[in-house]
């Protein structure tokens, strides 16, 4: 308990906390000074050896937005994974000592390992098959302690971690998971529960079992990740790791380089975002009192004050509802960006008088029909990706041809009320640009905006010709993450 004594003695804890908060700010979380003070006060009321209470106390005072939780958690894990023995083991029941786990491990080995390895010492001597067997057993029983032990073992064995090697945690995670063959184990677990049940499983039961095991496997993955993180921190120190492991806030995730997991987070984040945006826009409409004085109405109301115009009335401005044409490049690299923008635009479609969507790669197709036929935006976007007819020759972006076709087919529909949004990185594979189309659009439409998911420093490098198109647009915007996209949409309405 020497560590705990150090911790409670005050100064080091405050210093540690300050470092922690600096790192939170680095990760993008807005932590104010008062919140810092609150956190310091909060932890004086919490028993420090209770790791999860400690974590919640910090979270309640420092994190005021649920979307930031993941970033907080990562920093927390890094910062407090090695501080003192009582923090050494993950999660709330972090009271057991590693020794106990080791014993348990030996025990399990005795049961699971077919007897041939009787009396063997620690888990180090286990064969890969035995480890797999243990993994299978622990998943089947949903035994947390055992799962944790297996996670430790497998990291030790498979991750091949070398001290001082400057690779990130994901590399080790990948190596560990590759060796564990979790998909195969899931199959086996399913087989086993099929056999165990007296009659054949109904689809519902099957699904439930499947979800249950998947849930456990996810837990295991988290354990493994935590273990790797712990080892990395031990090896390279807190500050260095905090920097490498730093996870961007959902609104800062780059559309073009999002990992699969981040994509999922983005998808989850977009729904509340659109809802918020819609509410905000609707409110802005209702409360915009910038209209001129409504003389007639004012006089009418002045009667109740004996002819004194005590309560001036204003004309409500007729909000201008633009017509939106979204023209989106959906070729590989920028597809996800187009998807999010379409999602966002359609979610707030009632702010516009009309929304039409077009997608292109080297051919161009109108996809408004997919959105009209269903309420479910996700499904519509899925259909856009699978059914739209956008390939003309080889399926490589050809902005020039796409624009030309667009102009000849739908150009006449663009009117003075229309706002055209063009989404894409303008990487034209050195085809001709046909930028006259954009120029024509600008002449006819109210506004033409170009949204580019690439960082500004990459514009006009290589085959990117956004500058050429940009001269004919009313604005070119860098739109790399949710924050920028949201800002643009706000500007648009």
């Amino acid at each position: 308990m020497t560590d705990a004594e150090v911790v409670t003695s005050g100064a080091p804890m405050l210093e540690l906390l300050s470092g922690f908060i600096v790192e939170l700010r680095e990760a993008g979380l807005p932590v104010s000074l008062t919140e810092h003070l609150d956190a310091m006060e909060a932890i004086t009321h919490i028993p420090l050896e209770d790791r999860s209470a400690f974590k919640y106390a910090l979270a309640a005072t420092l994190v005021k937005n649920n979307a930031h939780w993941r970033s907080f958690e990562t920093v927390f894990e890094v910062y407090f994974s090695l501080r003192g023995r009582e923090f050494a083991i993950g999660d709330g029941d972090g009271q057991e000592l590693p020794q106990e786990l080791q014993d348990q491990l030996d025990q399990m080995e005795g049961q699971g390992g077919d007897g041939q390895m009787n009396g063997a010492g620690g888990g180090d001597q286990m064969s890969a098959e035995e480890l797999a067997e243990m993994l299978y057993q622990s998943l089947m029983r949903g035994d947390d302690a055992m799962m944790r032990a297996v996670a430790r073992q497998s990291v030790k064995r498979f991750a091949g971690m070398e001290p001082g090697r400057p690779v990130g945690g994901t590399y080790y995670l990948y190596r560990t998971l590759r060796n564990l063959d979790l998909d195969g184990i899931l199959e086996r677990l399913m087989e086993q529960s099929r056999e165990k049940s007296p009659e054949t499983l109904s689809p519902l039961e099957e699904r439930l079992e499947h979800d249950e095991y998947e849930h456990r496997i996810n837990q295991l993955k988290q354990e493994i990740e935590a273990e790797i993180r712990r080892r990395l921190v031990a090896d390279r120190g807190v500050e260095a790791m905090a920097k490498t492991l730093r996870k961007p806030l959902p609104e800062d995730i780059d559309f073009m380089h999002a990992s699969r997991e981040e994509m999922k987070m983005l998808r989850q984040a977009i729904y509340p975002l659109t809802r918020k945006l819609a509410v905000r826009l609707a409110r802005k409409r209702r409360h915009g009192r910038k209209g001129p004085l409504d003389f007639r109405n004012t006089v009418r109301h002045s009667l109740s004050y004996g002819g004194v115009p005590a309560e001036p009335k204003f004309k409500y401005p007729r909000p201008h509802k633009p017509e939106i044409f979204v023209v989106a490049d959906i070729s590989g690299s920028v597809a996800s960006f187009a998807r999010f923008t379409l999602h966002l635009v359609y979610a707030i479609a009632n702010q516009f008088s009309k929304v039409r969507a077009f997608v292109f790669i080297d051919g161009v197709d109108e996809v408004t029909r997919f959105f009209e036929s269903t309420e479910d935006i996700t499904e519509a976007i899925h259909r856009v990706n699978t059914e739209a007819d956008v390939v003309w020759v080889d399926g490589h972006s050809d902005y020039g041809h796409a624009f030309e076709v667009f102009w000849s087919k739908w150009g006449k529909d663009i009117g003075p009320k229309t706002t055209v949004l063009i989404l894409g990185d303008a990487r034209n594979n050195y085809h001709s640009s046909q930028s006259w189309v954009v120029k024509e659009m600008q002449n006819r439409a109210r506004h033409v905006y170009w949204l580019n998911p690439e960082p500004k420093s990459y514009w006009d490098t290589g085959d990117s010709i956004v500058g050429e198109y940009g001269t004919y647009c009313d604005g070119t915007f860098e739109c790399r993450n949710m924050r920028q996209l949201e800002k643009f949409v706000d500007h648009l309405v």
Binding site: S32, A42, S52, L204, L208, H215, H287
Partner: protein
């Protein structure tokens, strides 16, 4: 501020948890820990989370275990000072003035003024009431995200200093520090000023174990196996991409319905035919029905995903 020797409501995090459990509110570590902290730090709690996860219920339960009166302020667009804080009872004031005139009383104007701006003519609204209460109270400011940003400012003085300033009367300080809960459905970003003054608690859908226990406590007579099945199916449904995931209250409604129908085990058909209790959108219901009554193809697909 209240006197320093104010005794705290709770002794430890575990005490919060067990006492909440006594009134059938099953908390988890985070919830209990933050309620405990709020009591110690004398700070309000901002509770956020999807609808129907027991945000309001938490405030009610805490009021119950601390034997406090619950004062509730329901927020809505257009809520203003006179509905939230206080209002002068101007009818009564008028009467008072007229009465003076009728009696031919020549009392000095100063006197009357002092009289009509006194406690007798003050209508207290929830916030002021909570501040002035002698008995322990829990103040619940429900759905605070519905008021406009400007109106939020009304709350700031109360939340940080537990006092209300009334120009005619001066500042009224709290006689005891009430436990304050603010709930938000997160339809808009609350102002930094408000967030900074609160402890933040996000209540998400409960995990399977907790949901099962909630079903067991809240639905009398339900069997363990049925509760387990209910919780597992709801968890599966929440993994689908839906417009609105089923909330805890909908889970409970569903469990009660199954009880009424006298069902002891759920199969695919029953799940599909009663899905309309869990889900409120036609597209969601269709999706869930497809998932549950289909053959193994959907499972196989899910397997590929995982």
């Amino acid at each position: 501020m209240a006197s320093e020797d104010q005794s705290f409501r709770f002794d430890s995090v575990d005490a919060v948890r067990t006492r909440l459990a006594e009134v059938d509110y099953l908390s988890d570590e985070g919830i209990a820990g933050i309620v405990y902290l709020a009591d110690r730090l004398q700070k309000p709690i901002l509770v956020e989370g999807p609808a129907g996860t027991g945000k309001t219920q938490l405030a009610k339960s805490v009021a119950e275990i601390t034997n406090s009166r619950l004062i509730r302020l329901q927020c809505y667009e257009g809520l203003d000072e006179s509905k939230a804080l206080y209002e002068w009872n101007y009818k009564k004031q008028l009467l008072r003035i007229q009465a003076t005139k009728a009696e031919g009383d020549t009392a000095a104007w100063d006197e009357i003024e002092e009289d009509i701006f006194s406690d007798d003519f003050l209508l207290t609204r929830p916030l002021l009431e909570a501040i002035r209460a002698e008995d322990p109270v829990v103040l619940l400011i429900d759905e605070v995200d519905r008021v406009e940003v400007e109106t939020e400012a009304l709350l700031l003085e109360i939340l940080s200093d537990y006092q209300v300033s009334i120009p005619e009367l001066g500042t009224i300080e709290a006689r005891q520090i009430p436990l304050v809960f603010l709930t938000s459905n997160n339809t808009r970003e609350l102002s930094e000023a408000l967030k900074r003054r609160c402890l933040f608690l996000h209540i998400d859908y409960p995990d399977m174990e907790r949901e099962k226990r909630i079903v067991l406590t809240k639905v009398p007579g339900i069997t363990e196996s049925l509760a387990d099945q209910v919780a597992r199916i709801v968890r599966s449904i929440r993994q689908l991409e839906l417009k609105k995931s089923p909330s805890v209250s909908e889970t409970l409604d569903w469990a009660r319905t199954l009880m009424l129908l006298g069902i002891s085990t759920i199969d695919g058909d029953i799940a599909a035919s009663t899905a309309n209790i869990l889900l409120k959108y036609q597209t969601d219901i269709a999706k869930a029905q497809k998932e549950f009554s289909n053959d193994n193809s959907s499972v196989a697909k899910a397997g590929l995903k995982g």
